[in-house]
């Protein structure tokens, strides 16, 4: 049996949409400060798995343990756990009717009951750190895609999460904007954030991931350190997938 006291442990997680089994007995444990990359073809279930971890999608069987606590018990209120797990999606993240500052401050003031002054200070600090200090009063549609994604990351960080789930946060971006967002992710990792990242950016996964998981048809076929999986994959399917990308 697994050591369930790790930061995040998935045990036989299965998620179905009607007939379709999208996550099929997923087992994965993530250490504090570790960065795990999910790779796999489109439709292999990466997004769904991340949504399950954030309890946005109810799982059909299995368990999700956060710091040794089962957070996947049916009927459990997901909100206290969601605020400990930040998630950033591929697109449509920001609230278009709010400024950057309002986007960031909404959840801390409503969920953590932080005062406005406190939240503003935290937000200012984070924006500064990610080079967005002069965008605080802009509306999202006045920002580039890369800036929007960085704001989305900052917004998740303002909740002081213990884990960040990042779902293909660069795949809706123009190639020249990808770098600035990945820099932010790298900085997060250097600050010892626990990160689970679904990505098509193999070079990035190879450079910064501690472990890479290859998903295929809702199953984790192979988990290995990036050097291993990219140079000498064990499974034929992994080899095939990586081969098609190169």
């Amino acid at each position: 049996m697994k050591n369930r006291s790790q930061k995040l442990v998935l045990e036989d997680v299965t998620c179905r949409f009607d007939e379709l089994t999208v996550c099929d007995g997923i087992n994965l444990s993530v250490d504090a400060g570790e960065m795990v990359c999910l790779i796999g073809a489109s439709g292999s279930g990466k997004s769904t798995l991340l949504r399950c971890i954030n309890l946005l999608e109810p799982i059909d069987s299995g368990h999700i343990w956060l710091d040794g606590e089962d957070i996947s018990i049916p009927g459990l209120d997901p909100k206290p756990y969601r605020k400990r797990i930040g998630i950033v999606f591929q697109s449509f993240n920001l609230f278009p009717h709010m400024t950057v500052m309002q986007n960031i401050c909404l959840a801390p003031t409503r969920v953590l009951n932080a005062t406005v002054t406190e939240t503003h200070a935290v937000a200012k600090d984070l924006l500064q750190r990610f080079g967005l200090q002069d965008k605080a009063s802009e509306y999202p549609d006045r920002l580039s895609g890369g800036q929007q994604q960085r704001v989305a990351i900052v917004r998740a960080l303002a909740m002081q999460p213990e884990i960040m789930l990042l779902d293909e946060i660069t795949s809706a971006l123009d190639p020249e904007l990808v770098g600035e967002v990945l820099e932010v992710v790298k900085a997060l990792k250097e600050q010892n954030m626990t990160i689970v990242l679904a990505t098509h950016e193999m070079a990035f996964a190879r450079e910064v991931a501690d472990r890479v998981c290859f998903l295929d048809g809702g199953k984790i076929l192979e988990t290995a350190p990036p050097e291993e999986i990219f140079t000498n994959p064990r499974e034929a399917r992994t080899r095939e997938f990586l081969h098609r990308l190169l």
């Binding site: 949504r51 609230f95 909404l106 959840a107």
Partner: protein, 272 residues
């Protein structure tokens, strides 16, 4: 101005040209009407009973005063309509199984009050409820007329709001809930503001329609503009007060309609 680019200068020239053409053709149509209409055989009679300046002069101030009632009824109906419409729209949006009856109630409400002609509802409520013989302030036609308007219009506005709520992309809810916000907070801070903003032009159309439909209350008693015009018509055996009433309504509804169009155009330009 020397700062104009060639393109701007060209556009300005084009604008002036089309304005000139439009003015000329409008004047031509007016001149034709002015000379042709009086040649019609019944014109003298029509002019006497519909466009009688002496009658208009005598009745117009009172008509204007009666219009204040329209404005007042409109002004107190509108916030009630908005609040009730919001409540109904939220009812129809309820997802929790335990609150399913609310959903059914919301659906029934909108079906019934959109399905009955406004004038019928005004009659039923305006005559029916005071007919119960309620004591003094509770038998006022102003009160029950307003209730009829509020019931009808809140059904329409609720539907507009509901479609606005449904038009907000579901990933916006996901983004909000992933931050740990409650469903109520998600609705209040994320979904509703976007839904309302999106539906302002559509709601403006109902607001304009409401302004006109206040006149329906004339059938059950309040001496507002239409009823006042009706009184004068009978008194003077002349239809000019109706024309005066129409002009007063137009003075309000035309700018409001233009404003709604402007809002809609602005919204389209933002979205593209």
């Amino acid at each position: 101005m020397s700062a104009l680019s060639p393109r701007k200068r060209y556009e300005q020239k084009e604008r002036r040209r089309s304005l000139l053409i439009a003015t000329a053709s409008l004047l031509a149509v007016c001149a034709a009407l002015y000379t042709l209409v009086p040649k019609a055989p019944g014109w003298v009679a029509v002019k006497r009973s519909f466009f009688n300046w002496a009658v208009l002069e005598k009745t117009f101030p009172t008509l204007l005063k009666a219009f204040l009632w329209d404005i007042a009824i409109f002004a107190w109906s509108l916030p009630l309509i908005m609040v009730l419409a919001l409540a109904i729209a939220l009812c129809r949006n309820v997802k929790t199984p335990a609150l399913f009856p609310l959903r059914v109630f919301g659906a029934f409400y909108t079906d019934i009050f959109r399905g009955v002609p406004t004038i019928l509802l005004v009659y039923l409520i305006g005559f029916g409820i005071p007919g119960l013989g309620l004591p003094r302030p509770w038998n006022s036609p102003y009160l029950w007329g307003t209730v009829a308007l509020v019931l009808t219009y809140s059904a329409y506005v609720a539907e507009v709001l509901r479609s606005g709520i449904e038009s907000v992309h579901k990933s916006q809810r996901a983004a909000s809930e992933s931050l740990g916000l409650t469903e109520a907070d998600t609705m209040r801070f994320v979904v509703l503001p976007q839904a309302i903003r999106r539906q302002v032009p559509a709601m403006m159309n109902f607001i304009i329609a409401l302004q006109k439909d206040v006149a329906l209350l004339s059938f059950i008693g309040p001496v507002e503009l239409l009823r006042q015009a009706n009184v004068y018509k009978s008194l003077m055996a002349n239809f000019t007060p109706y024309v005066g009433a129409a002009v007063i309504f137009l003075c309000v509804t035309i700018p409001a309609t233009r404003y709604a169009d402007y809002l809609l155009a602005k919204q389209h330009s933002v979205r593209t």
